[in-house]
Each structure stands twice: as C-alpha cells, then as structure tokens.
C-alpha cells in the first residue's frame, strides 16, 4: 500500500517536472494548468494547514492547562479542608482519650460533660462513646441508645485495636444511618490497656464542605471511599453507600484530571485526589463541553477562517492560473500565427525571386525563338511561290502562338515578383469595385450570374493604388465567377471595419474548397484549374494586398461557397522592399 502510494506520488511529481513537448496539443495547456494549480495549492495550503494544526495543538494545550489548573486547585483545597476537618476532630478524640483516666471516661456523667463541651467546640460530632477492652460500649452520650453495645466484631474496632487510631469510611452501623467513626485506643502505658474512645461524625458536614466548592449545576462533586462506594451523595451517579458506576481512576495523591465518558454517555472531565491517610477519594466531575466551551468556540472560529482561507486560495489559484494559461495559450497562438505568416511571406518572396530569375532567363531564348520563327514566317510569306507555303505558315503560326503563351506566363511570373512602385491616391473603394464590375458584367449577364452589390454609401475614402486594387478585385471576382455554376450568386459587400480599416468581401455560393486547398491558395503555381490557370492569380493578389498594407481572409465550406475579405488600411502604408 505504502509502496504503491509512493510510486503514484513519484509518477505525479515526474509529470510535474517534465513539460510535454508536443507544442500544438491542447493537452499541453491542460497539463500546464494542472501543474501550476497543484504546485500553487501545495505551496500555499500545506504551510497554512501545518501552521493551523500546530496552532491548534498549542492552543489546545494552553487552553487545557488554563481550564484544568483551577479545577486542580479547587480539588486540592477541598481535600485539605476535609483533611483538616477530620484531623482536628481526631486529635480532639485522641486528646480526650489521653487526658482522662479510664474510670473517668467509663463514667457516663463525666462523658456527657466532656461530650457537651466537645459538641460546642466542634460541629459535626454526633456522639461520644467509651469502649472497654472487650469492645463493649460502657459509657455513651448522643441521640442514640447505644450504651452496652458490643463492637467487637466491627471492622472499625478491629482496625482501631490494630492501629491505635482510626477514621472509618461511611457505614450504617447499629443506628442505621450513614456516619463515620473516629476512634482512638488509649495509649497511656499500664492503665486500662485496650480501651477505645470513639466519636461519630455526621456526614452532613461533608456535604457542606462540598457545597462550599460552589460548582455549576452541571457539575458534580462527591467523596468516595477507596473501594468506590459513595460517602456523600452524588447528583448524577448514586446515593451514599452505592457503588460508583465507573472504574476508579489510577492512584494519585496530587489532584489529577482524566478525560473520560460517564455511563450516561457524557464526555466528562474527572478531577480527583486520593487522601493519604484517610480512606477517601475526592472527585469533581464536570461535563467537558462546559469546560471546553471557550476552546470549542475558538476552534470553530479558527476552523472557519481556515476553510475560508483555503477556499479563497483555491479561487485565486484557479482564476489566476486560468488567466495565465489562457494568456500563454493566446500568445502562443499569436506567435505561431506570426511565425506562419513570416514563413508564408518569405516563401512567397523567395519563390518570387526564383520566378523572376526564371522568367528573365527564359525571356531571352524566347525572344530568339520568336524572331527566328518570325523570320521563317516572313521568308515564307514574302516569297510568292514557296513550296508547302501554307503548311509552313501554320507551323510558324503555332510556334509564335506558343511563344505568346510562354510570354504570358513569364510576364505574369514577373508581375508576381516585380517591384512596381505603388502610386497612392485618394480613392473611393466603391468606385474601384464598380469599375472592375464593368469588366465582368458581360460575363455575368451571359452566364446568368446574379451580382448582388451591397456597398456602404458612407465608406470613407482611402489612400491606395487604384490600378493594383483593380487587379486585386478583378482576380477575386474572376475566381468567384469560376467557382459558381451558371445562375449562381456573387455578393460584393464593402464596409468599414474600424477607425483604420475598411474591407470588401466577395462571397460566392459556388463549390467552396477544403481546408487543405485553403492552406495553399496563396502559394504561387497552386491551382485547382488544371491546365487553365497559372496558379499565380491569388498569389499576386495576396502580394499586392500585403504591399498595400492590407490583408486577405478566406472562409470557405465545401459545397457552400467561399468568402474572400480584403482588408485595406485607410491611410497608405505601403510595405517596402517587397
């Protein structure tokens, strides 16, 4: 599993590093976008998350300490109060036991007097009794009739006899009421050994001590003995002498805090302390929610801020990357287009130079052929009785015709390459179009071609070369006428594009062309009219428009027709050195 994950991660990061090379695929931008997004998200969200987590833990620690410390102090204080309370009374009992003689204590009147004093001084003392070495209570004062009772088999008695002094946990005893007993064995040497003085303490006093902790209504505090039996009643977990429903926490004489869940399913914070010398455990239970409320609020706020931050980062990263990559894509496209255009024009230029060279070289021998053939024709014509005169005349005629054809081709070639100066004048494009149309109107009439004119009447005058523009439009309109069937339609529209440009579009509903053909139409010698055309018309047109600072756009669909749009600048900006 781990290895698989590692492999996947490695693969992913290697795709981050390597950049796909296939320049024209849209995959490239997708990948680029993904890589940038992932990297940006990683470098922003990772530290944010880390910082958030670290803060979270530090805060939690601090908050926890902050919340727990007062609890511990409270428990410690209360524990001390208990200890003090019990120690005070125990030492009093011990003092009484030591400072009176056996007989004095065995005397009930005497004991009553001591008890009345003691009750006045120490609240919570219920009764006082003196036991002889056999465990029989020989004297007693208090609200119960317990004189003469034998305590020999009681646990507390046995413990007292073993330890000398003892504080019991809560039990019912003969009186059937929960109380605790503190007993001291007389330890004065020699005299009435084994006699025990005992006092009973009311557990109500314990409740007062607990009430003095002033806990919230949701909280609970109580005393347990070390077996987990309730010594004071609890609000939620049971009455006196019932058993605490949870396992006892580990032994600790210092206040300690445990987070746990009570049998009712509440999350609680249990603070407790074991008593060193007494058989008690003091416990304070608070619901965790209550204690940690401030922390939860803080946590929620922090979490919301984190989520909002992450969302914001996502948004910004995605938007930014999108914009960036789009920009990149556009500029790539532009660069590619510019590159293609440069390629195209340099190709045209070099082909043009080649064509000029070829034409020129051919023109000279062509001139010789022309003159020789002409001479033969002359000779034949001027001698009245030349044998096979007619045949020879037709032969030389054919030669001269062929020369004428060659000359047309070379002259067009040269026209393609020639550096004629542009003569700029201010002209109305609509007029130029109408002039050109006068050349083709006859053909349109003849072939029943519908010529639709939609010329913008307010078309601004432009500065350009009239003759060259005529050639341009003538070429394109001728092509349109050739593309349409008899009865087809050619639409010529002139319009203003923007502040600097006007345009003329020539639309036909002829055969159209494929993308492949469209890619090549401006190249010299590319022709679809096999045997009929030189393939120079459109490349010359293109050259002229470029020279005039304009542009040609073609849109075509096979079977639906073609639209040529010629864009021309309003101000002359003839390109140089073409």
């Amino acid at each position: 599993m781990f290895r698989w994950l590692r492999k996947k991660l490695k693969e992913f990061f290697s795709t981050l590093r390597e950049f796909p090379d296939y320049a024209e695929s849209p995959e490239r931008y997708k990948l680029l976008r993904r890589n940038i997004v992932v990297l940006m998200l990683v470098v922003t969200i990772l530290p944010l998350t880390l910082m958030g987590l670290i803060n979270h833990y530090l805060y939690r620690q601090a908050m926890h300490d902050e919340i727990v410390r007062p609890l511990k102090i409270l428990v410690n204080k209360t524990k001390h109060s208990f200890e003090l309370f019990l120690a005070e009374r125990l030492s009093t009992v011990s003092f009484i036991a030591s400072s009176y003689t056996c007989s004095e204590l065995a005397d009930n009147n005497n004991l009553s007097r001591i008890f009345s004093v003691m009750k006045k001084e120490f609240i919570g003392v219920v009764d006082l009794g003196f036991l002889d070495p056999n465990g029989v209570q020989v004297s007693y004062d208090g609200p119960y009739k317990l004189r003469g009772k034998n305590y020999k088999d009681h646990d507390w008695y046995k413990e007292t006899r073993v330890r000398g002094a003892y504080v019991s946990d809560v039990f019912l005893g003969y009186r059937k009421l929960p109380h605790i007993v503190m007993a001291v064995e007389r330890s004065v040497p020699g005299v009435c050994l084994g006699c025990v003085l005992r006092a009973t303490i009311d557990t109500n006093r314990f409740m007062e001590l607990i009430a003095s902790m002033r806990l919230e209504p949701d909280s609970d505090a109580f005393l347990l003995n070390k077996k987990g039996v309730f010594q004071t009643p609890s609000k939620f977990y049971g009455q006196v002498l019932e058993t605490f429903p949870m396992p006892l926490p580990p032994l600790s004489y210092e206040p300690n805090v445990v987070e746990t869940e009570d049998p009712n399913g509440r999350e609680i914070l249990l603070t407790y302390a074991y008593f060193e010398s007494l058989p008690f455990i003091l416990m304070v239970i608070k619901p965790r929610g209550l204690v940690m409320q401030a922390w939860y609020t803080l946590k929620t706020e922090a979490f919301f801020i984190f989520v909002a931050g992450v969302l914001l980062i996502f948004l910004v990263v995605f938007k930014l990357t999108d914009k960036l990559v789009k920009h990149l894509e556009e500029s790539d496209l532009r660069r590619e287009a510019a590159y293609r255009e440069i390629q195209e024009s340099s190709k045209l230029a070099s082909i043009g130079r080649l064509a000029a060279g070829v034409a020129h070289e051919i023109n000279n021998p062509l001139a010789i052929i022309n003159e020789k053939a002409g001479l033969i024709k002359d000779l034949t014509q001027f001698s009245p009785d030349f044998p096979q005169k007619d045949k020879l005349l037709s032969l030389t005629g054919t030669i001269l015709q062929s020369v004428d054809r060659c000359r047309t081709i070379t002259q067009r070639l040269l026209g393609f390459a020639r550096r004629m100066e542009v003569t700029v004048e201010s002209l109305n494009l609509n007029e130029v179009i109408e002039e050109v149309l006068s050349f083709v109107e006859k053909e349109a009439l003849h072939r029943n071609i519908e010529l639709h004119l939609s010329l913008a009447q307010d078309l601004p005058r432009i500065a350009s070369d009239r003759g060259q523009l005529q050639q341009v439009f003538l070429n394109i309109i001728n092509n349109a006428f050739e593309a349409v069937e008899d009865g087809g339609r050619v639409t010529i529209t002139s319009f203003e594009v923007d502040d600097d440009t006007v345009a003329v579009s020539i639309q036909d509903n002829g055969q159209g062309m494929t993308q492949e053909v469209m890619n090549h139409i401006f190249e010299p010698f590319f022709t679809t009219k096999r045997g009929k055309g030189t393939g120079l018309g459109l490349s010359i047109t293109y050259g002229i428009v470029k020279k005039l600072g304009g542009d040609i756009k073609v849109a075509s669909k096979l079977g639906e027709g073609t639209t040529f749009t010629v864009f021309l600048p309003k101000k002359a900006q003839a390109r140089k050195g073409e």
């Binding site: 020129h360 023109n363 022309n370 003159e371 020789k372 002409g374 001479l375 002259q411 040269l414 390459a417």
Partner: protein, 142 residues
C-alpha cells in the same frame, strides 16, 4: 529614304533574324553586339532609331544610352528589356529614350514603335530646321 535603324543586343541569334525581318519591312538595319560597338558605329554614321537592349555585358544599356545621347542627341532610342528590368527601362526613358518594349516582342509592335520614334525625330529635326531658317530670315531682316 529608308529609316535607319541600329539594333544593339548581345544575343547574335536574336539580332540577326530581327535585323532581317526589319529589313524585309523596309528599314535600313545595322547591328551591334555590345555598347562599345554601337557607340563606334554611331560616331561614324547617322542613325534615326536605335533599338537598345538594357541588359548587356560590358557597357550596359543605360550607360550606352547616356553616351549615345551625348554624341547624337536627336537619335531616338527604344529600350528593349526583359520584364524584370522595367525600372531600368524607365530610368532610360528619363534619360531621353523614346519608349521601351518587352522581350519577346511582336514584330508589329516594334515596327510601330520605330515608326513613331522616327516621326518624332523627323518632327524634331524639322522644328530645328525651321528655327534655323527663321533665325536666318531674321538675320536677313536686319
């Protein structure tokens, strides 16, 4: 009197048949195969129209034209050119050539141009003659 034509071109194969054809059409044709030859010829003999190729080895058509005009300002010159050197031909016309023709030429065009050129030269000469006559007449008037 026959129109006197001097045909200047480095291509012998072009010059000779053309010379013969022009002669057949009633011109008195002389030939030269480069600029120097043409200038030599012109120093010795009067010529009405010179047909001058623009692109020649040695002295170029334009240089030849310039020299020629110094020697015989009245002689008309028709520049003969391959298409790519139209600009040169135009420059020639600025220097005083009568017109230019593109190779290969229709013989009829050439003949037409030669006749035009000759007429212009003739008119020119006539004007000069008349001017001279008038001057003589004026001088006589004094």
């Amino acid at each position: 009197m026959k129109v006197r034509v001097l045909l200047v071109d480095d291509e012998e194969q072009f010059v000779e048949p053309l010379a013969m054809r022009l002669e057949a059409r009633g011109f008195a044709v002389a030939t030269a195969f480069n600029g120097e030859q043409a200038l030599d010829y012109i120093k010795g003999k009067e010529v009405d129209v010179v047909i001058l190729d623009v692109l020649m080895p040695g002295l170029s058509g334009v240089d030849t034209l310039r020299e020629l005009k110094k020697i015989r300002p009245l002689t008309e010159v028709i520049m003969l050119t391959g298409h790519a050197t139209v600009e040169t031909a135009i420059e020639g016309m600025k220097l005083g050539a009568f017109d230019y023709l593109m190779k290969p030429t229709e013989i009829e065009d050439l003949v037409g141009k030669i006749n035009q050129a000759y007429r212009r030269k003739a008119e020119h000469e006539e004007r000069i003659q008349r001017a001279t006559l008038e001057r003589i007449a004026q001088t006589r008037g004094f």
